[in-house]
């Protein structure tokens, strides 16, 4: 399946315009959704869904046109494309695993739970800051990932 030279030349140009336009829209949408433009804050899942959709579309365009997969023998194209479907499982499984890992992480307090835990917390060495020696050590709030994940359960 060979396309005429002048047709494929035009097509390559129209696809670079399309890919550029989608990229500009992605960045605009990311900044718009996070309130940099227009002051609107969209829910995170909407931003994420739109971004994933647009990126997948860009990937489709690159593979189909630039890598010429749309013009190869179908069985050849499928031998490359179908195995990547395994990644759908991998993404779901590992993100799920990451979430579970986060909930089991000892000492992890999520933003929503934070205030309640603070009130109930045992006495720490925290004192009203008055003098130079109140520069605190790492201990009370060391980087969370340094603490070992709670095993078992």
């Amino acid at each position: 399946m060979h396309v005429d030279y002048s047709v494929s030349k035009k097509r390559a140009f129209s696809y670079i315009i399309l890919l550029g336009a989608v990229t500009i829209f992605e960045v605009f949408f990311a900044l718009f959704g996070k309130g940099y433009i227009g002051g609107v804050h969209l829910p995170t899942f909407i931003i994420v869904l739109v971004m994933i959709g647009l990126s997948a579309f860009k990937a489709y365009c690159i593979v189909k046109e630039y890598m010429h997969m749309g013009y190869e023998v179908r069985s050849f194209a499928m031998s490359v494309v179908l195995p990547t479907l395994l990644l759908v499982w991998a993404i779901i499984a590992f993100l799920w695993e990451g979430g579970t890992w986060g909930h089991r992480r000892e000492g992890t307090v999520r933003p929503a739970e934070r205030a309640a835990v603070q009130v109930a917390a045992p006495v720490q060495e925290t004192t009203a800051p008055v003098a130079n020696d109140t520069l605190k050590s790492d201990q009370p709030d060391a980087p969370k990932e340094d603490k070992p994940a709670k095993g078992g359960h």
């Binding site: 670079i16 994933i52 990451g98 979430g99 986060g102 992890t108 205030a115 520069l135 990932e145």
Partner: protein, 320 residues
Amino acid sequence: MAVETKVEAQHHGHSSGKDLWSGGHSPFNAPYGKLMMWYFLLSDAFTFAGFLIAYGALRFSMPAWPLPDFVFRTAPFMGHAVLPLVFVTFMTFVLLFSSYTMVRAVQEGHQENKSGVVKWMFLTILGGAAFLGCQAWEWTNLISTENMSIFSNPFSRHTTAGQYLTAEESEVNKIADGLAHDDAHRVSGKAFKIEDPYLIPWDEAYAATEAGALTKGYLRREFYVLDENGARVKDAGGKDLVEAEPMGPRSFGTLFFFITGFHGFHVLSGVAFLLIVLMNVTSGIYGARKNGYETVEKIGLYWHFVDLVWVFVFLVFYLI
């Protein structure tokens, strides 16, 4: 061209039935090298996917994660201007454009037009080199200006609302304010909301102090923890609860440098391969083969793949 036409004719002559696979034909109607390039790229796609999925899993497991449009808000020659995602969008365009020039080189190759191949491949190499230059700037900025490394990450987001202690109340906040380049970056007394991003400043002199030694020079500013009504949270002893800004998740720095570095290494080796192929094109050996500059097509596949991976690196690190 002639060879391809012949193969195609064979393929269409046997497009159904077992004899297509019984030898003597090219069932996939593609040269061996191109086929193997595709399967290499498939395996490389899984490698990159593994890294990006690891990023996702670690991000999901952390209580706080840096905000991309806060981390990547600087651009060369723009000083302290806040330009979220602007520079990295420019980088994306550089790579996209080099992908376009690569397509054109392959098309000219199919036309057996040597000077066209040379011209477009040269532009592709320039694009690749420009991308690497941009990445070098980005890395340099993150490492030496903002002090992010594979071991420590000063970027994070607040997990509570709060109000910074004033410079009088906190020695660390006083030093940090002294480092601020303008009023907008002095924190003392300022309030912040939950999920607001922050960058922990770094000071050489503070690193030399006894207190600084504990945090390796990162000025972890202190704040009163506020509840959802804006009142100060008390500790069990009835005093105002004061905390220091925790360092961001260490894995953010590790993953950023590892994954963008792995991609950058692909770009670097792509530029090297493109240079080699370009030299062979100019020497005329591909033209003599009369196979439509098949090697240019194969290295083109690799180059588009590098662009394809960047689409997802851009998505995962910068857009979400």
